[in-house]
């Protein structure tokens, strides 16, 4: 029997024993074709999906390599059915190719006539195609390039897009590496994207995705449209671009709710792009406003559905997606694959932590016990009021104060959902509060003051969960959360866990009311964080208060 670190499960998950001597080599071998699903302390779970296999094909790996990796590292014999499935799935990618034909323009070609016949018979595909050109090619209406790729993926015959890109309007952009340098993995990521043409770069939170975006722009040397999640994030991008590249204030435009600037480099928010007035997307013309040479999608896993539809028409332009995870709650990974592109780079997450690029973090769940009156009130509350009630109990305020006291001298962020609670906390802690109604200018002033360590405790509502960068927050205390999907919520919480200048680890507290729905939500969070490999422990509020 082989003493490998890998166990192949019948549901196509791969279990990797993390402490095994060959674990690192094995991780490298399976990373191209399996997505890391969870990485708790001993056994990491990877999943082999058709998309992951096609990603591997797009990156130049073949079925032999995949099967070889599985057989080499597997502790137990690999079921034959699984190997066959891998080979068959991988063989489906690239049977169809989108290519530029000197005479006919965009054509769909095939190496396997039967496959072409099959897709031609599909009702959805037919209207996107023009005349047959010989046995193994058919003309594609250029406007259908994106939708065709989507539809082919749904049929299980993903097309390889070799039709190339327009160069776009030239615009000089260079990295200004004064006092900082591109980290090796950032350079690799940008290079991998550039050589692949279009695609997605997967990097963990805090690994410097903005800089990868900047490096991609420096490769493209062309006008660039950047799509980000919200306004604060747009500002952040602008600041970062000014700092990291030769671009000047005048060259970067913001296209948000407040400003509508179109400049060689334009940063737009998803929200403004998806705003409808009288049933029409008002800002679609932005895509045609310039001859963009590159489009950057920030946080691809949050990309809203209308943007996908718009993206389908932009297939001739280079696209780069940046994300921490390819897993989407809405299951539209296939659209990311067909419309933005296959995965081009995936950082070995654990290695990055070992090299100090991202911070290790400790998660602590503090369980407070409700008083008897509170328990009675909770039991009587209407079900829609229950969460609000249990997550804003006065007991939590006391525990939060104790936690803040414990971390005097460190940068502490208190995050909550309910404004009343935040105001009260702000009052008790003597700390400024940032909430929805806080003006953008004021927000940024406070963030800057927090960064400069002029203020040490900041109370923020969920507005701060999005795409903001608080590098010096080493402690975060969540007092109430959103009931969003565990992926989304924990993702946001993960954002505060950035590398610290002092090099120390981050600490993330969540204060939870025992025996309430609050605790149920916390269980989801616990699972996600533990699966991400963060150390997680649960303590009783009494212990915190007593240790004070």
């Amino acid at each position: 029997m082989n003493d490998g670190p890998l166990i192949v499960q019948s549901d196509k998950t791969l279990l990797l024993e993390a402490e095994h001597a060959a674990a690192d080599a094995c991780r490298k071998a399976i990373a191209p074709f399996a997505e890391l699903e969870r990485a708790p302390e001993h056994v990491h779970t990877y999943r082999v999906t058709p998309l992951a296999l096609w990603n591997a094909r797009a990156a130049g790996h073949d079925a032999e390599q995949v099967i070889d990796a599985l057989i080499t590292y597997s502790r137990y014999p690999v079921p034959h059915a699984l190997l066959v499935d891998v080979a068959e799935t991988m063989a489906r990618y690239g049977r169809l190719k989108l290519e530029k034909h000197p005479v006919h323009g965009l054509v769909l070609t095939t190496t396997d006539k039967a496959v072409l016949e099959e897709v031609l018979r599909a009702k959805k595909i037919k209207p996107m195609l023009g005349e047959r050109v010989g046995d193994d090619a058919v003309i594609v209406h250029p406007s259908e390039r994106g939708t065709l790729k989507q539809a082919l993926l749904k049929l299980g015959w993903p097309a390889e897009d070799l039709a190339g890109y327009v160069d776009g309007e030239h615009h000089p952009i260079a990295l200004a590496e004064d006092g900082w340098t591109l980290r090796p993995y950032q350079r690799e990521a940008a290079d991998a994207f550039w050589h692949g043409g279009s695609g997605v770069v997967v990097l963990p939170c805090g690994a410097g995705k903005t800089i990868v975006g900047a490096a991609a722009m420096a490769h493209a040397q062309a006008t660039t449209l950047i799509l980000v999640t919200n306004t604060v994030s747009a500002h952040q991008w602008k600041q970062e671009l000014l700092r990291r590249t030769t671009l000047t204030e005048d060259e970067i435009g913001e296209y948000t709710g407040a400003k509508k600037e179109i400049r060689p480099v334009t940063i737009a928010t998803y929200q403004v792009m998806t705003t409808k007035r009288q049933g029409v997307y008002r800002h679609l013309e932005l895509f045609d406003a310039r001859d963009w040479g590159l489009i950057v999608y920030d946080e691809v896993h949050l990309l809203p559905a209308p943007i996908f539809r718009m993206t389908a028409d932009l297939q001739a332009r280079r696209r780069v997606g940046l994300t921490a995870t390819l897993v989407r709650e809405d299951g539209r990974e296939g659209d990311v694959f067909s419309l933005i592109g296959p995965k081009r780079y995936d950082a070995p997450w654990k290695e990055m932590e070992n090299q100090g690029w991202i911070a290790p973090a400790d998660c602590v769940e503090v369980r407070v016990t409700l008083t008897d009156e509170e328990r009675l009130a909770y039991a009587m509350a209407e079900s829609e009021e229950r969460y609000r009630f249990c997550s804003t109990t006065p007991t939590k305020t006391r525990v939060t104060e104790a936690l803040v006291r414990r971390h005097v001298g460190e940068q502490v962020l208190v995050i909550g959902q309910y404004i009343d609670q935040l105001d009260e906390l702000g009052e008790h802690l003597g700390a400024p509060v940032i909430k929805g109604e806080t003006r953008v200018r004021e927000r940024e002033r406070l963030f800057q003051a927090f960064r400069d360590k002029e203020i040490q405790v900041l109370v923020v509502s969920k507005v701060a969960n999005f795409s903001i960068d608080l590098p010096e927050a080493s402690v975060a205390i969540q007092v109430s959360g959103t009931f969003g999907s565990r992926q989304e919520e924990a993702q946001r919480l993960g954002r505060v866990l950035r590398p610290k200048s002092g090099g120390g680890g981050a600490r993330f507290y969540s204060v939870v009311s025992r025996d309430t729905v609050d605790q149920d939500f916390a269980a989801h969070r616990q699972r996600f964080l533990a699966e991400q490999g963060y150390a997680y422990q649960i303590v009783d509020a009494d212990d915190v208060l007593a240790g004070d």
Binding site: I7, Q9, S10, R38, E41, V78, H80, A81, Y536
Partner: protein
Amino acid sequence: MSAEFAEWLRGRDDGQLRALVSARPELITPVPAHLAGLAARASSPSAIGRALDRLDRFTLAAVEALAVLPPPTPVSELRALFRRALPDGDPSSSELESLLAEAVERLRTMALAYGPDDALEPAPGVREVLDAPAGLGPPAVEVFRHYAPERLDELIADISPGSPDSSGSSGDDPRARLAELLAAPETVDRLVAEVSPQARAALDELAWGPPTGRLPKARREVRVATAQSPIEQLLARALLGATGEETVALPREVALRLRGGRLHRDLSPTPPPLTGAERPQSLSDRTAAGQAFTFAGSVEELCERWSVDPPGVLRTGGLSVRDLKRTSQLLELPEWSAALVIEVAFAAGLIAAGGSADGEWLPTPAYDAWRVRATEDRWASLAATWLAMDRAPGLVGERDDRDRLRGALHPDLRRNAAPEVRATTLAVLAAAGPGLAPTPESVRARLAWEQPRRRGHHRDQLVEFTLREAEQIGLTGLGVLSAHGRALAAGDPAAAKLLAPLLPEPVDHVLLQADLTAVAPGPLTGELRRWLMLAADVESTGGATVYRFGEESVRRALDAGQGADELLAMLERHSAAPVPQPLRYLVSDVARRHGRVRVGTASAYIRCDDPAVLDQVLADRRAAPLRLRRLAPTVIASRSSRATLVDSLRAMGYAPVAESLDGDVIVSQLDARRTDVAPPARASAVVNALDDDVVAAAVRAMRAGDSAHLARLTPVKEPGGPVPRSPNTATIALLQEAIRQGTRVWIGYVDGQGNATSRILEPARMEGGYLTAYDETRAAVHRFALHRITGVSGLT
């Protein structure tokens, strides 16, 4: 039947007869009375058909040649004929000679041909059974059988080289005269030269078979002078003959001439080579072992699922399409593969129709016995079942003749040829040698050579199923027959032993993680596995098993009477690393609340309508450690856990029942159900698996019968004196001994009319409650019911 053939058969020695019977087992079911009977049976059309089916292409070609050439045929003539059909020097003449000698010997062994090398003849009946030997049409005499004499005269007149009335050696029979003309090569050559190129092309088409064609008005009477179309030109020259209103045939004599002295177009004296990818044998073994492990796991999973949630039996028998779909999702297998799992489990007697009025598919008691065996033994029994089963699971999901979907477990899935196709296909894979994965095409080509008469869509389909299913069951890995698969196909009981070291070894520890999962890096030992099934939920299976602890699963364990301390102790004992803090917290948190719940509902109280019983419980000394407290005349509370209380009460001789607050009896686990229907009988053993003893006994019986038959022996007289008596067991033992030794015995027998008789027997075989023996007192072979034999004694 020719007497000559029977005489030849009689001249074969016992070893040769045994070989004949082994090669054609159907000849001795039942055992013929004498060798003349054997000869008759061996020349019956059905027996010859079955024997021919077993021939490879080269041997078949030899028997075809014998059927075509005028008997008797010297082997040298066969050789010369074959030589012409083969490329020069391949094989060399000495090779061809030995190959041909082998083929001829095989024909003699199977009694399909007889006679010495210089005068070989096909066995009687062979010519008739070979309908179109080597694709040749009937001889001219046959083709023109129904022609009127006048018409025949016309034909002869048209094709004769000389004057129309030139009489030949055949006297007055025009049919024979015509045949003689066509048999002359120069006549055929001349006639062929006369016809148009289109007619020539049609002839060439028919020359290599099939030798018949259809056309309207085949019987039209055309003369050479009036023939218009190409076909008419042929009909007018007797190059084609009408065998029906709309059918024509090419006379054999014409075809032979057109073939230029050859009988076969592509004769290959050796089997086509198997080709395919080369893979390391050890890799294939491992892959096959992985699949074997998975397959056995799937069967277990199926039975477990069906034992709590059995699907219904359709009115027509079988499983509904919806249930198959559901099962395939449960097992995470494609439907054809799920159908295979179901069918093999059924054939192995692990599931059967049962439950309420036979309305559900449920596991049988045999499943419980199977489940506790080692994985390799479980696999070996499944794989052996698959080899022998006469059902074709591959047909599930296809449509039958009436366009209905074939369902799993449906009676329609029987295919009698299935076991034999599986055996031959695996034999081909075994012949490929280690590390070679023959392509399906080369396997098919090989089978086509080995059994050219057994062809057809259904058979090809079964071969395809066999290859696919062998892979799925884990007999082959990456297309290569594995070592354990090879052993299993050969009936070697060592198959399980070969598989065992490749399977995951049972482990007795798990890896506990902060995300509340436990990973068992291999199959778990029994106790730990059962415990984890209780205290955690299974998340994924395979080589390893991933369990997840949750509030619910921990509560389930607590419900089953486990304490929090016990749970944690169990975790610590079986974990290599310390128990993660969140897991520890979870267990104690759930236990904390579980305790609260127990006070109100499932708590430890004893309730009884009769206060006297409770008095008795309280007074019992053994109840002291239970620390009972009476809450009411009919209720006692205890601080012991419910499980302890119930156990203790049981020990004290009561029959306590746990109940909920409503007074309902708590049933905490679903009962795994079983059917009591006996497993279906295994598919009847394939006829060709006769063991040596049976064969030897049969030959002995026939030989004995034969000498009796020949000698016209008068029956010996029944011996006088008291009829032998012996106890039943001794009877059987004595008879077995006599069969083995070939000695005679004296028995007492109550005949069909109830008369007590005594006989002198030469026992041949004993099976199914009957003894077959040559009865010297009746001078014939008879079958005797064992229970009517009153006694046996030996004769010297």
